[in-house]
């Protein structure tokens, strides 16, 4: 039997020239055709998954609804307070001669693929270097930090999610201002480590980005403290932070660059 080694050589050449501009341009054309289809399929999958989850949780939906009404009432109250604070803040800014920073560009992107579980946790988006996306850009949804752009091609990019073990982001507690480093651990929670033992931190504290990372704006929500881990003899403690948003359900996100 003879084997078709010519094809192996051709495929090796394709692999070698795979990153040069004319080839990526041709791929970009196919991506533009495939992305809407992939987005549609993903949307259908998310809807189906939501239906399945809904049917599984139908018993607890009533209790959840009751809780949501309570949260809604609280949110309305907070919103009204916020409006007052915003107004006050605007007046103070005007008096002090400050202006809000508007140099940040926000880019809407559709999620076209995802990889969760043990291998890697990432999302593929339909925007790339053509749209101005750069490695390290923060990706958010509804003021929640989703992850950081890990690799960029012309018309797509891969976002490393918060629960990826390679993710490291400076964060702080909104209430106590305790600082730490967010590190992913594949699950639905992430680890906030390097917190000084004497810094106060409570269960349910909201964890936000500290703004110390150059490309990640301050104040994006990461999640809530679910568990605090410490030993008496150590000078640092850590906390399990439950992520505020489920990346599996995302269809549209925003790249901040």
């Amino acid at each position: 039997m003879t084997f078709n080694y010519k094809l192996l050589v051709i495929s090796a050449i394709l692999l070698l020239i795979g990153a040069i501009t004319p080839v990526t341009y041709v791929c970009g054309i196919f991506h533009r055709i495939a992305f809407p289809i992939q987005f549609g399929i993903r949307g259908a999958a998310v809807s189906l998954n939501n239906e399945i989850v809904f049917l599984r949780k139908i018993k607890s939906i009533k209790e959840e609804l009751f809780e949501l009404y309570k949260i809604k009432e609280r949110a309305i109250s907070v919103e009204s307070k916020m409006k007052e604070v915003e107004l006050e803040n605007a007046i103070l800014r005007e008096q002090l001669g400050f202006s809000e920073s508007k140099n940040q560009k926000i880019l809407m992107a559709y999620v076209t693929g995802s990889s969760f579980g043990s291998i890697s946790t990432s999302l593929s988006l339909n925007v790339g270097s053509y749209s101005g996306v750069r490695v390290g850009n923060a990706v958010s949804s509804e003021n929640y930090l989703i992850g950081v752009v890990d690799s960029v091609s012309q018309n797509s990019c891969t976002v490393k999610l918060l629960n990826d073990p390679a993710t490291k982001i400076s964060a702080l507690s909104q209430n106590s201002r305790a600082k730490g480093l967010i590190v992913g651990n594949y699950g639905t929670t992430v680890l906030m480590k390097n917190i000084l033992i004497n810094e106060p931190l409570d269960l349910g504290d909201l964890i936000i980005t500290s703004g110390e990372d150059v490309s990640i704006p301050k104040g994006l929500i990461i999640g809530e403290v679910a568990k605090i881990n410490f030993k008496e003899q150590e000078i640092l403690k850590s906390a399990d932070v439950e992520l505020g948003i489920n990346p599996r359900k995302l269809e549209v996100v925003f790249v901040l660059n």
């Binding site: 039997m1 003879t2 084997f3 078709n4 080694y5 094809l7 192996l8 051709i10 495929s11 090796a12 394709l14 692999l15 070698l16 020239i17 795979g18 990153a19 080839v23 990526t24 791929c27 196919f30 991506h31 495939a34 289809i37 992939q38 987005f39 399929i41 993903r42 259908a44 999958a45 998310v46 189906l48 998954n49 076209t112 693929g113 995802s114 990889s115 969760f116 579980g117 043990s118 291998i119 890697s120 593929s124 091609s153 797509s156 891969t158 599996r248």
Partner: protein, 152 residues
């Protein structure tokens, strides 16, 4: 030729499903690889290698990884599969083992190292899927390609 027109749209559909549909449900199985190896098992080397090359090309064109990666991987896997099946015999057990080993090797190619047991179980599941999909591949190859089923 008729078989190409039947199989390549199937591969395209499977590739779209495995990149956008199945990950939402937590399923990370390379069904294209399984399908390619099933076709390799049921067809002569010329057809199987060409088919692997074209399947890899399709996956590369719709995927966001480096272009040529899947084309090279599937072509290499098909040539190695033919060599192994010729050396050790065209047995179903060899096919299942090939699916298992190549599923693990694919992770290494794609630098997708994760938890050992997860990779092991997913590869085992891929092997099981190859057994389930085996009759479908046999039917397609026999009906549209005229390649007779050679199950040992």
């Amino acid at each position: 030729m008729k078989l190409y027109f039947i199989l390549l749209p199937v591969i395209l559909l499977v590739a779209l499903l495995q990149t956008s549909f199945l990950p939402v449900f937590g399923i990370y199985i390379d069904f294209v690889l399984i399908f390619v190896l099933l076709i390799v098992y049921n067809t002569p080397s010329t057809f199987g290698t060409n088919f692997s090359f074209l399947s890899g090309l399709l996956v590369d064109l719709i995927g966001s990884l480096r272009f040529g990666l899947f084309t090279f991987m599937y072509t290499l896997f098909s040539i190695v599969s033919y060599f192994i099946l010729n050396t050790f015999g065209k047995k179903l057990v060899n096919l299942v083992l090939l699916v298992f080993v190549f599923s693990i090797l694919e992770r290494i190619f794609l630098r997708n190292y994760g938890d050992f047991w997860d990779i092991f179980l997913e590869s085992l599941f891929s092997s099981l899927m190859s057994l389930i999909l085996f009759p479908v591949a046999c039917f397609l190859c026999e009906k549209f390609g005229g390649f007779k089923k050679k199950l040992v």
